[in-house]
């Protein structure tokens, strides 16, 4: 069967690697903690996977009961513009629609995450924390 992508490699070979589905690219876990609800993200956030992050965080908004929602991005290996847009929208939703405390975003200094956030200036907009415990305490 011809592969869906019709990719050619320089030696004329056919595409070898299987296509990951979005469940392989991102994994999400929501954990109830004393100080709030933590959504742990592992993997890549791009146009394919950002909708899953969005719905996980919106579900968390539904159950926080006034406590902060924390998005933990320390295990994220890629963050593209669709992910940045999702973070912006979720932060706006937390305040404007839900009247909650602003969404808290945990990023360490891993370049693939902090670099795009800084390029587009979201470091001035998002409530950023260096660890989940910091985000839950403050």
């Amino acid at each position: 069967m011809k592969p869906a992508g019709d990719e050619r490699t320089p030696d004329g070979g056919e595409r070898a690697e299987p296509r990951p589905d979005r469940e392989q690219l991102i994994s999400l876990r929501t954990v109830d903690r004393d100080g709030g609800v933590v959504v742990e993200v592992d993997g890549e956030i791009d146009g394919l996977t950002a909708p899953r992050l969005r719905s996980a965080v919106f579900d968390a908004f539904d159950r926080v009961d006034g406590k902060p929602v924390v998005v933990d991005l320390t295990s994220v290996r890629f963050l593209g513009s669709a992910g940045l847009r999702a973070l912006f929208d979720m932060a706006a939703e937390s305040v404007n629609q839900r009247g909650h405390t602003p969404l808290r975003v945990v990023v360490d200094h891993t370049r693939p995450v902090i670099r795009p956030i800084e390029i587009v200036g979201l470091d001035n907009v998002l409530a950023l924390y260096e660890s989940v415990s910091d985000a839950l305490v403050h």
Binding site: T9, E17, D21, L25, G47, G80, S81, A82, F88, V120
Partner: protein, 168 residues
């Protein structure tokens, strides 16, 4: 597009090739990929571009920059060029990605990545949008970012920052 072959690719200067040769490594050829437009291809392109640059022993921080930029270009082709819906399967057109190494006279190397689609160009809307962010990212991550668009499609060329020559 002519069928690619290794003979057509001349990505490395001969001094560079000799260094690889001395180190017992084959000189990596240029990168040439053609995918059908689906959202998942951005992650495939990220993988392929990263492993191509690792083979070329590119500095890791520069690999991240180039991967960020090329991912945005590919996402634009899928989302805007062909207006593929996120859950769509099957493709509406081709996205071509090419990579080559440009040898500078001082021995430094630059990676040039070209992303081409045959879809329609739409001007990015100013303000907060993933599209506007994508443009900012591409501009920030490479030395030269050019977009050419016509009725035949859109071509984005990303010329990376200079990387040091291979030792030896």
């Amino acid at each position: 597009m002519a069928p690619p072959s290794e003979q057509d690719e001349q990505p490395l200067g001969s001094a560079q090739e000799q260094r690889y040769w001395r180190q017992g490594m084959p000189a990596p050829a240029g990168l040439e990929l053609v995918f059908g437009a689906e959202w998942v291809i951005a992650s495939l392109v990220r993988q392929r571009v990263a492993s191509w640059l690792r083979e070329l022993r590119w500095p890791p921080a520069q690999i991240e920059e180039l991967v960020l930029a090329v991912s945005e270009a590919v996402s634009n082709s899928v989302e805007h060029g062909y207006q593929v819906m996120p859950d769509a399967v099957g493709q509406s057109g081709a996205v071509e990605v090419r990579g080559r190494v440009v040898q500078e006279p001082d021995g430094f190397r630059r990676a040039e990545l070209t992303v081409r689609d045959h879809g329609a160009w739409r001007e990015p809307v100013p303000g907060v949008s993933s599209r506007g962010h994508g443009m900012l990212i591409m501009r920030a991550c490479v030395d030269r970012f050019t977009v050419n668009h016509s009725a035949a499609g859109t071509t984005v060329v990303l010329l990376g920052r200079p990387a040091p020559p291979l030792p030896g």
